[in-house]
């Protein structure tokens, strides 16, 4: 896959790349389907219940059935909604979620793009989703939706700042914004989770908030706002908001793996196991962590939520930046 | 580029103000909400005095370069810095008592925004790189935008701030657009590098882009000095802003605009030669000395519009706004009458002289306006009614400032205008000189209208108008300045001529 990138342009090459992208799309969709299943199972397991177990063997087809259900639901656009924006909303939310996947290197072989500004690309694209969410809420012209949209935007932009800042330590250490370089750098030294533990924790928290997931799921708090910004959405439009969230789970877990856990780098010299396996393992660990958190923590209060981002996470992230720089100058790294 | 080896002493004036601003910002945060923030004002004045001292130290020394040639400490910049520092110092004195009232709700912010604006102006005057210059410009602008709208509960203030920011941003965008072409032709944002490469581009058939750049830069920068075509904001903004801010805009901001205009236009465009004359080098034709014709048109329109529109104003601050538009036109005249390299140095000195005089008399006027408007609770010029009876000395001082603004002797304003007038006549721009003089006569009408209110109309009240000591001090200072410079202008003229060196604008101090 990676060598596709080195070839001169030809239509055949274009076809190959497109095929690879389509396959990646398939993988992502597959992941989403089974991440949902897996999440429900994990939560069920933590809460000592079964989770889905009816559709298909061990409930494996549960999500498929859910998706199909959404597909055959009627697509309702409320009368008062802004029709055009209402349609664009979910697409705009979903598009960047999928597009960011392109820059993540999964293994030495499986890379879709080798971009110098990988981190910036991720940060830039992922913030577009916020617009999609705001559009959805606004276009619905529903009090819950608008409130939910506003809240989630406020939350997401607040946490985006520490999220982006948490990469900075790594950038200082590697001197590159290229994700592949970062993985290579970790091969040479240690995984950045150790020197960048502050950055990692910041990322974990901010990333969770960025995903609007429990314990930071205030925007869609069922008991206050019914469903937040997508309360008016039904059918496949709703599905895409849902999809967005899980594609981001995929993207963020991948990114964390790449940035902090050494990507496809094998630990303890276990090189005989292919890199992609290691990647998937680390990736699964992080995904599991996300589900675990969801099952464990209660939802935070609004007043705690925003204050936490600005008063704690951003200063901590900035501190991390300076600390890394100082240590870098002192040649600790 | 070892910044630790930088000669920090050269940045002393700027650093003083920056540190001051930072310290006041922090102190403002630490201080309790009820604390008296006047102390910040006094501290700032002390800091400004120190900065003035540093700047005076730098006068007369050769050009120094800093930060990869993006910053230069030269006579031109230092002279302008003195104008900014003195002006802002006086604005501070004006403000300290002004903001007791609910006029400026956030006084701490006001003080440090004034300081950051000052830093912006200083950077503008001293930068030799368009990026640095642009940063200075925007620092000044954004501080001003906020200061204009600092009375956030006041709709007038809001409106003024919005109009100001919109005009300001459009203009700075136009300026940038022009700069982008210059950058494209020369590949540099350093003024001196540009000045070396631009003539080449001009002669190689890219003269269109040079013209485009010239006009866009000119139009973009015209808003800072409130000249045609971007003068429309002035009346509204001056009216809506708190009076000390108005004074700041009218004086320091405008002077900074002139600093940047002179710096950019002269440095970049003067070396461009349109037609060489090898036989007789003195007959060589320069781009800039032809382009000044457009400046002359701008100056003429500015004078005409400013002065004629001012006649119809009944609000004192709007009137002063348009008067300041008119003055921008006057000050542009020396620039517009640069027709040969011979007189450039003198022309720029004349502009500096005018700006100093303008600073003194305008700050005097605005101080009086502050006092009167506060007392009358209205900004209408009828608030000046009977001022003479209520406080004769204030009335006399105000009339003298107005006479000076009108350009009548024996005041500094007359000498300043005369200098400029001579500039125009020297290059035989009789039409420009004529417009200047005729519009000056028109200006008598509205200046003397205020005088009429003060002397010839009974006031609403005969109660004595008390003036606080600090404001008395400002007025006295301005009065003496206008009078003494009117009688002995050579004190200042010689100071400027001795310390201003045209070559400073062009000296290339680095190897490439």
């Amino acid at each position: 896959m990676a060598d596709l990138l080195t070839r001169p342009f030809s239509w055949l090459n274009l076809l190959y790349i497109s095929l690879a992208a389509v396959i990646m799309l398939g993988i992502v969709l597959f992941f989403v389907t089974y991440a949902i299943y897996f999440e429900r199972k994990v939560i069920g397991w933590i809460q000592i219940r079964y989770g889905p177990n009816r559709v298909g063997p061990k409930g494996l087809l549960q999500t498929v059935a859910d998706v199909f259900k959404l597909l055959i639901k009627e697509d309702i656009i409320p009368e008062k909604a802004d029709k055009a924006l209402f349609r664009i909303g979910p697409m705009l939310a979903y598009l960047p979620a999928f597009a960011v996947i392109a820059v993540i290197p999964y293994s030495e072989k499986i890379q879709f793009a080798d971009v110098n500004v990988g981190i910036l690309y991720y940060a830039a694209l992922s913030s577009i989703t916020i617009t999609g969410i705001l559009l959805g809420g606004w276009a619905s012209n529903n009090k819950y939706a608008i409130m939910g949209g506003m809240r989630s935007v406020a939350q997401m932009i607040s946490y985006e700042v520490p999220l982006i800042m948490s990469f900075l330590g790594i950038v200082i250490m590697t001197g590159s914004l290229n994700l592949i370089d970062i993985v290579e750098a970790q091969k040479d030294s240690t995984w950045f989770i150790f020197p960048q533990i502050i950055g990692f924790i910041t990322f974990l928290i901010a990333g969770n908030a960025e995903l609007n997931r429990t314990p930071f799921d205030l925007p869609e708090a069922e008991n206050e706002l019914v469903a937040g910004y997508f309360v008016e959405y039904s059918g496949f439009r709703f599905a895409f908001y849902y999809l967005t969230e899980y594609v981001y789970v995929f993207a963020m877990a991948s990114l964390m793996t790449v940035l902090f856990l050494g990507g496809w780098d094998a630990p303890f010299g276990l090189d005989f196991i292919p890199g992609i396996i290691w990647f998937i393992l680390k990736f699964m660990l992080l995904v599991f962590y996300l589900f675990w958190v969801r099952a464990t923590f209660p939802r935070v209060k609004t007043n705690q939520l925003m204050g936490f981002a600005w008063k704690v996470l951003i200063p901590v992230a900035l501190f991390n930046v300076l600390l890394t720089a100082v240590l870098k100058i002192l040649n600790v790294y | 580029m070892n910044l630790l080896e930088l000669n920090w002493g050269l940045l002393a004036p700027e650093l003083t103000i920056i540190i001051l601003a930072a310290v006041i910002t922090i102190a403002d945060l630490v201080m309790s909400d009820k604390g008296d923030r006047k102390i910040f004002g006094w501290v700032s004045i002390v800091g400004i005095v120190i900065a003035i001292y540093f700047t005076l130290q730098q006068l007369g020394s050769p050009v120094e370069y800093l930060l990869e040639n993006s910053y230069r400490v030269d006579s031109f910049g230092s002279l302008f810095k003195l104008i900014f520092l003195v002006g802002t110092g006086i604005v501070f004195i004006m403000s300290i008592n002004y903001i007791d009232k609910e006029e400026i709700p956030h006084d701490g912010e006001f003080y440090y925004l004034l300081l950051t604006a000052l830093v912006g102006a200083m950077i503008m005057a001293s930068s030799a790189d368009i990026i640095t210059l642009y940063i200075g410009l925007e620092l000044l602008s954004f501080s001003s935008y906020i200061m204009v709208g600092i009375r956030k509960k006041n709709l007038k203030s809001n409106e003024a701030a919005f109009k100001y920011i919109i005009t300001g941003l459009i203009s700075s965008t136009v300026f940038l657009y022009g700069v982008s072409f210059i950058y494209g032709l020369t590949g540099s944002t350093n003024l001196l590098v540009i000045s070396e490469r631009l003539p080449e581009a001009f002669t190689n058939g890219f003269d269109f882009y040079v013209y485009l750049g010239f006009f866009m830069i000119l139009v973009g920068l015209s808003y800072k000095i409130a000249a045609v075509p971007s003068y429309m904001w002035a009346p509204d903004v001056y009216e809506g802003a708190p009076t000390p801010v108005t004074a700041f805009l009218a004086v320091i901001s405008k002077a900074a605009g002139f600093a940047i205009i002179i710096r950019i236009l002269v440095t970049i465009f003067v070396p461009i030669v349109t037609e060489y004359n090898f036989a007789d080098p003195s007959q060589t034709e320069f781009f800039f000395f032809e382009a000044t014709t457009y400046l002359a048109i701008i100056a003429a329109l500015t004078m005409i519009i400013g002065n004629t529109m001012a006649i119809f104003q009944s609000n004192a601050k709007r009137l002063l706004a348009l008067s300041s538009v008119a003055h921008a036109g006057y000050i542009l005249i020396p620039l517009a009458s640069m027709k040969s390299p011979l007189t450039m140095s003198i022309d720029i000195s004349n502009m500096i002289f005018y700006l100093v005089v303008y600073l003194i008399m305008n700050l005097g006027v605005f101080t009086v306006v502050t006092i009167v408007n506060r007392d009358a609770d209205t900004e209408d010029i009828t608030s000046f009614r009977g001022l003479y009876h209520r406080n004769p000395l204030l009335g006399v001082a105000m009339s003298f400032f107005l006479i000076s603004l009108a350009g009548l002797p024996v005041s500094a304003g007359f000498i300043a205008k005369f200098n400029i007038f001579v500039s125009a006549i020297t290059v035989k721009s009789y039409w420009l000189a004529g417009i200047m003089v005729v519009t000056s006569v028109i200006s008598y009408f509205y200046y003397f209208n205020i005088i009429r209110q003060m002397y010839m109309r009974p006031g609403r009240t005969e109660a004595k108008l008390r003036v606080s000591n600090s404001l008395q001090f400002v007025i006295l200072l301005a009065f003496l300045g206008v009078l003494l410079l009117g009688i002995f202008p050579n004190t200042l003229l010689d100071f400027i001529y001795q310390n201003f060196n045209l070559a400073d604008l062009f000296t290339v101090g680095f190897q490439r």
Binding site: - | I170, T173, S180, T189
Partner: protein, 102 residues
């Protein structure tokens, strides 16, 4: 490769659209957005020149970063002022900004 003129043309078009928006739109927000568009036109120019100019170098890109910052400051200050207006007046239509007589 895409020629320089194409970039300049895009820049000019964006600039003109922005200018049109500033001069013709009623909503304060749209005016701010239009200015943003103009600034981005400048950015396009700068970047294009930094790549294809006579002396193409990185300065143009650095300049762009500063321009972006200014654009951000513009948004911040402009919006803050608009909010103040909205809270005092209940509208952000710039045609209603006329309490000071012309």
């Amino acid at each position: 490769m895409v020629p320089l003129n194409a970039y300049l043309a895009v820049g000019a078009i964006m600039f003109s659209i922005g200018m049109f928006g500033v001069l013709n739109k009623k909503s304060g927000i749209i005016v701010l957005l239009s200015i943003e568009l103009m600034l981005n036109a400048v950015n396009i120019n700068l970047i294009a020149f930094s790549r294809f100019g006579f002396y193409g170098n990185i300065t143009g890109q650095i300049f762009t970063i500063f321009t972006i910052t200014v654009a951000a400051a513009e948004t911040a200050v402009g919006l803050a002022i608009l909010i103040a207006i909205f809270r005092n007046k209940g509208t952000i239509s710039i045609t209603d900004l006329n309490i000071m007589k012309r």
